[in-house]
């Protein structure tokens, strides 16, 4: 039966590659639809092409809606989208090149735009990454060295906090805001600090020293922070810093590069460039649990990872050469292709809504 399904899915895969818009669903897809309703893919777009976009793929109908944002709002998303948060019914998108944040209500289909501009200098702040706090506030890192706090209900900026240089990933834990100050625009003299700011007082509590060019930060169930420093892409290698979120002390440093990460609880899926696989790092035990969850030799340029543990599906974004349209593939843990569909340029975030 498995072989039959495999044959059918390969047949459908061939058909898939010929079609432009509508995707035919292979049989194996049935078990994805047990849990997943819609897949949303954020396509970064190419710089100064104004072609950032949102793709929506509906599992049960197996249909794609390209330019979903334009379909809902009647206007384009903008230039270079960098982050996406899905918190049903809301979808938040950071559009870096256009200096805007968009809020989409997936139930009412309303879209609202917020400009991220420093009104004193009239310069866009170059917004980068979002974090949604459990009290309903959005924290937004901006490359001009600030973090904006945005109230999700009114969708207005309530606070502007000064942090380090060119902040990227950020997180709020224990009423403290931690930002990765990459200093990327000062290349090759990167920054190497984490700003610690009290979210209630908006005062600086501490500055933690880590490796150069920190970009991503994760929290485990025991209150430990994991900071990925990317090094300088030359002689200084990437490193993972493990920090106690109460004492702010660096307790361990591991020579690891957890690139294109996707976190679910204490599981962190990432791309292992040495082995060309999707690997799993366990944040609780602070070690690699499985360095070959899925082998992906056929992916030319991996741009996104997403995982649905319930249906045991791994989604990967294929960016090809960064200027043509990308593609998203869904695989079982055994490497069997369950679905695939075309996206816009550089599919960088894959999120999905569930049936419950």
């Amino acid at each position: 039966m498995k072989i039959f399904h495999l044959f059918i899915s390969s047949l459908f895969c061939c058909l898939l590659s010929c079609k432009q818009h509508e995707e035919v669903q292979p049989d194996n897809n049935q078990n994805i639809s047990i849990n997943i309703e819609d897949i949303y893919v954020l396509n970064e777009g190419t710089w100064q092409q104004n072609n950032a976009s949102l793709t929506r793929y509906n599992i049960s109908n197996a249909t794609i809606k390209e330019s979903y944002f334009e379909h809902l709002s009647g206007r384009e998303l903008g230039d270079v989208a960098n982050d996406l948060i899905l918190n049903y019914p809301h979808l938040f998108i950071v559009v870096n090149g256009s200096n805007t944040i968009e809020k989409i209500n997936l139930k009412t289909k309303n879209t609202t735009q917020l400009s991220i501009i420093n009104f004193q200098t009239n310069k866009g702040r170059s917004p980068r990454r979002l974090f949604l706090n459990n009290n309903g506030d959005l924290y937004l890192s901006n490359f001009d060295g600030t973090v904006n706090v945005i109230d999700t209900a009114s969708f207005k900026v309530t606070k502007t906090i000064r942090v380090g240089k060119n902040p990227e990933g950020l997180i709020v834990a224990n009423e403290k805001l931690f930002t990765c100050n990459s200093g990327g625009l000062d290349f090759p003299i990167y920054d190497s600090t984490i700003s610690v700011i009290s979210t209630s007082q908006i005062t600086s509590l501490d500055t933690i020293s880590v490796g150069i060019n920190p970009s991503n930060i994760f929290l485990n169930s025991e209150g430990y922070l994991f900071v990925q420093s990317n090094g300088n892409y030359n002689d200084i290698e990437p490193k993972l810093y493990i920090i106690n979120s109460i004492s702010h002390k660096v307790e361990a440093i591991q020579s690891l590069s957890l690139s294109t990460p996707y976190q679910i609880g204490d599981s962190l899926f990432y791309y292992n460039s040495d082995l060309n696989t999707i690997s799993l790092y366990d944040l609780k035990s602070k070690s690699i649990k499985n360095n070959n969850v899925l082998s992906i030799p056929f992916i030319e340029t991996l741009t996104a990872i997403s995982v649905d543990p319930l249906t045991q599906t791994i989604f990967v974004g294929e960016g090809y050469n960064y200027v043509s349209r990308g593609r998203v593939f869904g695989y079982s843990y055994e490497g069997v292709e369950k679905l695939s569909f075309d996206t816009g340029v550089i599919p960088s975030k894959i999120k999905f809504t569930t049936n419950n």
Binding site: G74, R75, V95, G124, S126, N166, L185, D186, S215
Partner: protein, 646 residues
């Protein structure tokens, strides 16, 4: 972050580092008495001064765009970067020669042709493989297309004061003069100053909405001078010295990015170029030997850059020394041998210094056999770079070609012609040293051939002449240098992977009618159809798609009516659809466009002088269009040029 930095690098280097300096100066009006009232094109590629003066051609880039098959890439407005290309090939395959000296750039090969103003230009010609220019330097044979610009004075003794004003807040006074200092010395001088705010209204679409905006941050200040001195040593030898300076300070408006406040980038540059040549064009053995020095400093500033100092400033200084020697020897009545050797040393200084030594050796032969004319050329290019302690490129290559012209009937001006050639394009500093490169780069190579028919006729009364030229062309680019991403966004792989197959056809029709001694009509039209397909890899989405920014068709019309001292010109340019990226999908589609212009000029003699007034209304249907995606071009705009020639 890294992607922004990378794109900034790539975009900056392409956009700015080709010395994005422009010059806008008043166009020297034509003296109608000096030129015969019928305009007979010398060959299909010569853009006679009268034609380009009366089309919207501020500078060499725009002027060249009126010749057949040339495609202009323009970033818009007075200051926008302008480069040209031909027959589906990139602008790296177009050489630019200013009074015999090759003008180019080790950083990005292509240069901004918007920089070369039209004051004093008596001739702009676009040549394919062959050119009527004598004693061409060896570097001429590197590219299949060469733009040859000759800035010669329109008269031997004159002073011309000009003032051009118009849209964009333009004020452009100019002064040019020529004089024979004595029987052996003549001097020609040009200068122009330009100031403009560069503003223009434009429209763009966002989803279902059409928005109106004004192009801001595009102000320009420019000052150009040019001096040309000829010293006649004896009846066959002359010494020619030229000095050109160019100063430019302009805002760069950047792409129209949705919802984004205006960008704050600016560019400052200053250039100095001097050359001296000893030429003998009279004897059986003709020769030319010369030396050229040029320096260029470029400073780019972005005040919206979020590093510690709060701005990004990139300064580039380039210096180049070239020695160029050519000979032409008519060994037999029907046989001419040519040879040329160039040697150049170019330095680029930005943080570190990189230098390139370049030796080009050319040998050629021209043979006439009855009604057949055969030319063959051979070129050897030797390049050796020195990149301080890092990897340095070096290469030695051989290339060449043959062109044939045949008049099958002795009683008829019908001409059949064909060219075949191979061209080698070496990588520039940007490709080799300014992005992270994995692996060694080789030069690109292009094999091209074309076949054509040309017919030209003048009637018995010599008052009507017309010509038709139709050709088929084919270019194959191999080892094309393309950059592909690796998993690490900050390290791109630059390799010789690309392949492009180009073919097309081109037709040129022109007619010239002299109705009586005071009234004449000239019309010319060219149409080019080109298919340029990406053949890099069948697993790419771009495979067999039309490559980016290559319109499927281009056409140009010029209609000129002359009556005594008045000239009325209607000109139209058409670019067909093209794609902004390599994938031919609707998201990347750029619409085709027609732009129409009208120009009226009148010469009013005042005693011994001539006052010329010319009014141009360009894009009179106010067509909203873009050549480069998100860089809107000006809609309707006008210029008024007044000049007094004494």
């Amino acid at each position: 972050m890294h992607k922004i930095l990378l794109y900034t690098f790539v975009f900056l280097n392409a956009y700015i580092l080709s010395a994005q300096v422009d010059s806008v100066i008043s166009i020297q009006p034509v003296t109608i008495e000096k030129v015969s009232s019928t305009i007979i094109p010398k060959n299909e590629y010569d853009l006679q001064k009268e034609v380009f003066v009366n089309t919207p051609s501020q500078n060499v880039a725009e002027a060249s765009s009126w010749t057949p098959g040339i495609y202009l890439k323009d970033y818009g407005g007075i200051g926008g970067l302008k480069t040209i290309s031909s027959k589906g090939l990139s602008s790296n395959y177009t050489g630019v020669f200013l009074n015999g000296t090759k003008v180019e750039n080790t950083l990005s090969t292509q240069i901004d042709l918007g920089k070369f103003d039209l004051i004093g230009c008596s001739e702009v010609s676009i040549t394919q493989n062959t050119s009527k220019e004598l004693l061409k330097p060896a570097s001429f044979y590197i590219s299949p297309t060469n733009v040859v610009i000759n800035m010669k004075p329109i008269d031997s003794n004159f002073v011309n004061l000009g003032l051009k004003t118009g849209s964009f807040g333009l004020i452009n006074p100019s002064l040019s003069a020529a004089t024979n200092l004595n029987s052996k010395n003549s001097l020609f001088f040009n200068s122009s100053y330009t100031t403009a705010n560069g503003k223009y209204p434009f429209q763009y679409n966002n989803g279902t909405e059409t928005l109106n905006e004004t192009r801001e941050g595009a102000d320009v200040k420019r000052f150009n001078t040019y001096i040309d001195h000829v010293y006649t040593i004896n009846e066959s030898i002359e010494l020619n010295t030229q000095i050109r300076t160019n100063y430019n300070n302009q805002g760069l408006p950047g792409a129209v990015v949705l919802y984004n406040p205006t960008s704050r980038q600016s560019l400052k540059s200053s250039d100095l170029q001097g050359s001296t040549n000893l030429i003998n064009t009279k004897n059986k053995l003709k020769w030319r030997t010369g030396f050229n020095y040029s320096q260029s400093s470029l400073s780019y500033l972005d005040t919206s850059y979020f590093n510690t100092i709060g701005y990004l400033q990139q300064d580039y200084n380039q210096y180049s020394y070239t020695s160029s020697n050519s000979i032409s020897y008519k060994i037999l009545p029907k046989t001419t041998l040519t040879s040329a050797v160039d040697y150049s040393l170019s330095l680029l200084r930005k943080d570190k210094t990189i230098n390139r030594k370049n030796t080009n050796i050319h040998i050629g032969i021209e043979q006439k056999i009855k009604s057949l004319n055969i030319k063959a050329f051979y070129l050897n290019q030797n390049i050796s770079d020195n990149n301080e302690d890092n990897s340095s490129y070096s290469n030695s290559s051989k290339s060449g070609g043959v062109s044939v012209k045949y008049y099958p009937f002795t009683t008829s001006p019908l001409k059949l012609y064909g060219n075949i050639g191979k061209y080698i394009r070496n990588p520039n500093f940007q490709e080799l040293y300014y992005l992270r490169v994995l692996g060694d780069l080789k030069p690109e190579n292009t094999s091209s051939y074309n076949l054509g028919i040309n017919y030209f006729r003048i009637n018995k009364q010599k008052n009507i002449s017309w010509s038709v030229d139709i050709k088929y062309f084919n270019n194959s680019v191999r080892d094309k240098i393309i950059s592909t991403p690796s998993q690490n966004l900050f390290i791109w792989s630059i390799q010789n992977l690309g392949k492009v197959d180009i073919q097309g056809f081109e037709s040129i029709v022109s007619i010239s009618i002299k109705l009586d001694s005071s009234f004449s009509i000239y019309y010319s039209n060219s149409y080019t159809y080109q298919q340029a397909l990406d053949k890099t890899s069948s697993s790419n989405r771009e495979y067999e798609n039309q490559i980016a920014y290559t319109p499927f068709d281009i056409s140009k019309h010029i209609l000129m009516l002359k009556h005594k001292k008045s000239v009325l010109t209607l000109s139209s340019m058409y670019n067909g659809i093209r794609y902004s990226l390599g994938e031919n999908i609707e998201a990347n589609l750029l619409n085709g466009w027609w732009v129409n212009n009208i120009s009226i000029g009148q010469i009013i003699p005042i005693k011994e002088s001539d006052l010329t007034i010319q009014f141009q209304l360009n894009n009179f249907f106010d067509k909203q269009y873009q050549i480069i995606k998100n860089f809107p071009m000006p809609g309707r705009h006008w210029y008024l040029t007044t000049s007094l020639k004494i």
